[in-house]
Symmetry: C2
Subunit: 428 residues, 2 copies
């Protein structure tokens, strides 16, 4: 690898230039090894955020991050593979019913997940509320479980795109999270290194998402789809609404409970709709579109895979889930129609109740979260429960209540409510 | 002080906003104390470089850097004070004759200087080639020397604008040196904290300067003059040419020797011209413009102050200066008129010969440097010496010669040469 100098690379991007392949390969490798210091990468990240990168630069950046670690290979499995990634939303438990559902349709799902930071929850945090369940698997365990059960949700190992792990933590503290080239390459480097054959991206748009407007969400989706295709991964993105939280619960155990309802053939309509839409895309990507996933929810086979998947990771799928020690009910201040429920307000409330973490070392509370008793369009009656706040620590209610202030609107009785589309667009 | 968050401050500037006074005060204080990490300040510095700061922000940033340390006070001296700052050039030894000259005219000069980094030399490095001379003085020693001798050139103590010291080192490795708000506040925070009554800024323009074009140099000069006025320091800036190196020597001991020539009433015309121009501005700023500094060069009184100044800091002004162990002569390749001598080429050559340092821990060679035997406009003859390269280490000549390649032009005999102005403009 040609030797470069960190300041030379920073100045090239600072002054609006393109980084060469050699510069990108060098800076990622040198950063992973600690030769390029955190303060140098932070300065470069800000220059990338403000001056952008073109498609070639983003593709090379992604390849360099993949090359910083190991690359998994599931071509030896008896089934094709498909995975899903969500850019993060409030009440977004879709991975939990989706992975066993797709596996029940004959496609293996190797889902390497993360923990939550900030107002959006983390899939591993949710699953860890199940007694006994463990997130850490060896590569052999993962491969065996994919073959025997068909679905794995586990923590990404330290050897998967370590450059991304280091860069992500840096971006989080340096105000450089919101750069589309860096978001796209972060997500895609992990998913490509993970070795999935097909990938469906759930790009969230709205108040509770990182992308607040459709134009930026589409730009991110198009960037990631192009990166996937360049790497030989069949990639499709759905742009989905995140102005309203998904389902009726945000937290950890409460989201597991809602996921189990969906796997039992029930559950909130929006969660079922999005789970099926993403499952159909994953199956199509893996070449198994003759199967209707709705049948697998109805016939209980998705639930069977769920239980096998939880047991394979030492969890007890039939054990009672943890319950928060304290609860607080918010009643509707008037009678009418719920016309707005803001995803960010609910996400912040759940986070403040203890469902999420402020720093990555913080623990989360399994039982904490918010349950809402109406969705936009539903009738509400003055004095009846609108939200239930859950926490092990009653001192947290005050700040959680503050974040719900102004987070919902109740229209006069008879107000008509026009729901927006849950799936806004598809990018392929 | 109101509590802020580093990411909040970074994002405000990243998104093109203005930083509030409270945000600026907090971030400088927290960075000085290590609460804001280097990677956070690097990201903020890049955002400032690319999105700018307005006059209020720059003024507040400067005040906050002053407030990070001690503020000196020379109002107890029996004389007014004036200081000069150069933004850095090649062969720029002007401080050496200027400080004793101005002192000889009745104005005290409290010059806190730095060491060189990169192709421009450092005043302290030059003076340290004088046997015995020491750069470090206590505040009491400095005050006493100002009263007794009238001039001090010494190292800035650790307590003078420590935020600037830390930020300057960070900018150097993160590609964020070239931001006018940060350059202006760095220079002015130190000069205002130093407590000088009047200040003359020598803003260099041209190939050998940080500012390559007059427009940016003027912007920097205007920014600094405004900062000085806001702080009650009588401040004037001269924009001076740095496309050609000053005098006939660049290095350490060789520049001391040339300075002593000027103090003896001789020396290269351009060095004398600039020394007198800056002296007149300093004297005017301090309210002593009845004195003609040219008289003080001619009558030897400036030389008397020089010797007293060197002796007060344990140096021997009459000792022989160090001589490089090796030398290499470059002869003129043709006969004619020297029409161009590039400051950057000469500066890089001197740096590569050992006169400067690549990292701040590196030592410098006292005897290393470049002497040139003609200035633009002078006749040169094929085969006669054009440059003499000096170093303790002969392996350095190859790279020094490479940097001189293309660094000068010789026109045919009889070519007319129109010299540009040395002092390009004045900003007050």
């Amino acid at each position: 690898m040609t030797q470069h100098d960190a300041v030379e690379v920073i100045i090239a991007k600072r002054d609006g230039g393109e980084l060469s392949d050699g510069q990108i390969d060098w800076v990622i490798d040198a950063y992973t090894k600690g030769v390029v210091a955190d303060e140098q990468m932070a300065s470069l990240a800000m220059a990338i955020l403000l001056n952008g990168m073109n498609r070639r630069e983003i593709a090379r950046w992604t390849e360099a991050m993949i090359a910083s670690g190991e690359r998994m290979d599931f071509s030896g499995l008896s089934r094709p593979t498909a995975d899903k990634h969500s850019t993060g939303g409030v009440g977004d438990k879709i991975t939990l019913p989706l992975a066993p559902l797709v596996a029940a349709c004959g496609v293996a799902v190797p889902q390497l997940s993360g923990r939550g930071l900030g107002h959006t929850g983390g899939t591993l945090d949710k699953l860890e509320s199940i007694p006994g369940w463990r997130a850490a698997l060896s590569n052999t365990e993962m491969f065996d479980q994919l073959e025997s059960v068909g679905a794995v949700i586990c923590a990404a190992g330290d050897q998967l795109a370590p450059a991304d792990k280091k860069l992500y933590a840096l971006r989080d503290v340096t105000g450089t999270v919101e750069a589309i080239p860096l978001i796209a390459s972060s997500i895609m480097s992990k998913k490509i290194a993970e070795g999935t054959g097909a990938l469906v991206l759930d790009v969230k748009v709205g108040t509770g998402a990182f992308m607040k407007d459709v134009a930026r969400a589409r730009e991110l989706a198009e960037t990631m789809v192009a990166l996937g295709k360049d790497a030989g991964v069949h990639t499709v993105a759905l742009l989905t609404d995140m102005s309203t939280p998904l389902g009726l619960a945000a937290g950890n155990a409460v989201e597991v409970a809602e996921s189990v309802e969906v796997l039992s053939g029930g559950g909130p309509a929006d969660v079922v709709e999005l789970t099926l839409a993403l499952a159909r895309e994953m199956l199509a990507g893996a070449g198994r579109d003759a199967v209707d996933p709705a049948d697998r929810l109805a016939d209980g086979s998705a639930m069977d895979v769920w239980k096998a998947m939880i047991r394979a990771q030492d969890g007890d799928p039939d054990a009672a889930l943890p319950v928060a020690r304290e609860s607080h009910v918010v009643t509707a201040p008037s009678t009418g129609v719920l016309t707005r429920l803001d995803a960010m307000a609910v996400g912040l409330a759940a986070w403040r109740l203890g469902a999420g973490r402020a720093r990555k070392e913080d623990p989360v509370q399994a039982g904490a979260g918010v349950v809402w008793h109406a969705r936009p369009g539903d009738q509400v009656r003055e004095g009846e429960p609108l939200f239930t706040l859950l926490s092990d620590d009653e001192t947290r209610f005050t700040r959680a209540l503050a974040s719900l202030q102004g987070g919902y609107d109740i229209g006069a009785p008879g107000t008509t409510y026009e729901p927006g589309a849950l799936v806004i667009d598809r990018v392929s």
